[in-house]
Amino acid sequence: MTSFWAVLSATLVKDIRLEWRSKDALNSMLFFSLLVVVIFVFSFDPLAEESRHIVGGLVWVAFLFAAVVALNQTWARELRNQVLDAYRVSPAPANALFLAKSVGNFLFVSVLEALMTPLFIVFYNLHVLGPAWQLIPIALLGTWALVVNGTFFAAMSLRTRNREIMLPLLLFPISIPAVLGMVAGTTAVLTGENSAHFYIVLLLTYDVVFTTASLALFGTILHAE
């Protein structure tokens, strides 16, 4: 059996190298998120107090839409020259490919979040009233929730004719519990009115359930004709 971790790390390094050279996903995500921030700033002019209540939603919707761009790219490069077939005929474990893609997407979306969050803070004049450290687990667990489902559904929609439309159609409904957790958790920390503990546990549970389900089903998706 080919080593799971060796294949995972080789695939992850390969994806980072390809993204570093092309910057396809990062450029499109950054451009898209910047547009969203600017449009929101022009559309609303909230007071600082109102900002704390709405920014959680704005931030996560912007990241969700931007992530879809990266998620579509991640499998598109495996379709060029039918490279995915080379993986399918190899003894490499299917789950190593899935996890490598998920971790890669997690890194790309995290870079986007790290770059865009200061802009949101500046444009919306944000001051956190609750325990700010709780934003870290919310961001990490929320981002994983988006990319693990996104990577799975992007693979599932690979062979459909309109895969770029299919991905959001499949991903958004199933992400609703996670998005609710992310938005409500972020708002709870920003306003300091409620504890975000419940939402962190919700996101953790969501991540465990969907990561397990995706790992269990990915082999079937990969080897489907």
Partner: protein, 210 residues
Amino acid sequence: MIKQFGRFAALRGVSAEFDPGRLHAILGDNGAGKTTLLRGLAGLAQPTQGTISIFGKSPRDACREIGYMAHPSLLYDEMSGMENLRYFAGLYGVVSNARCEEVIRSVGLDPELTRGVGQYSQGMRQRMSLARAILHDPRLLLLDEPFSNVDIHSAREMVGLLRGMRDAGKTIFVVTHQAMLLEGAADEFVWMQAGQIVARTATAERGRAQ
């Protein structure tokens, strides 16, 4: 085996046994089912009916013993030949850089080439694709149109390489429209038509006459 895509039958009852250690050329018009047969042997197309046995195992179980070269290159355009081979070697547990270099040299390319495979000529891409297929030293080699867009000199070199591999005991299937290139090298010419094997001959000329 029968292979259907919806109502269309790409293979209509292919039943055959092939000797190991021989070079089999698979010939036929477009749409005859050659590529579907090869994809079935590679484990990429599941039979609608019937079974495939390779060295006594299913194609999936025998995947370590199969090398597959498709019509597209199955390579990442943005990575160099060596980077591509290092990645695919890892999928088979081959960790030696020396093996990657050896295979690249064996197909007549330079492992030091740093430009992306996407900037290679079509002929160079075909050779690199062959290098990827033989990287893990498979017992069975499945090649889909390896000589298309390759100049005659390079194609003859590739045939020489395949002949050497056959002599070393490998079993090789080559789907091609250029039967004459394999005259004298192939042990058998398998003729396909409308999803069936219609003839198996020792020479390309005899098959054409049939």
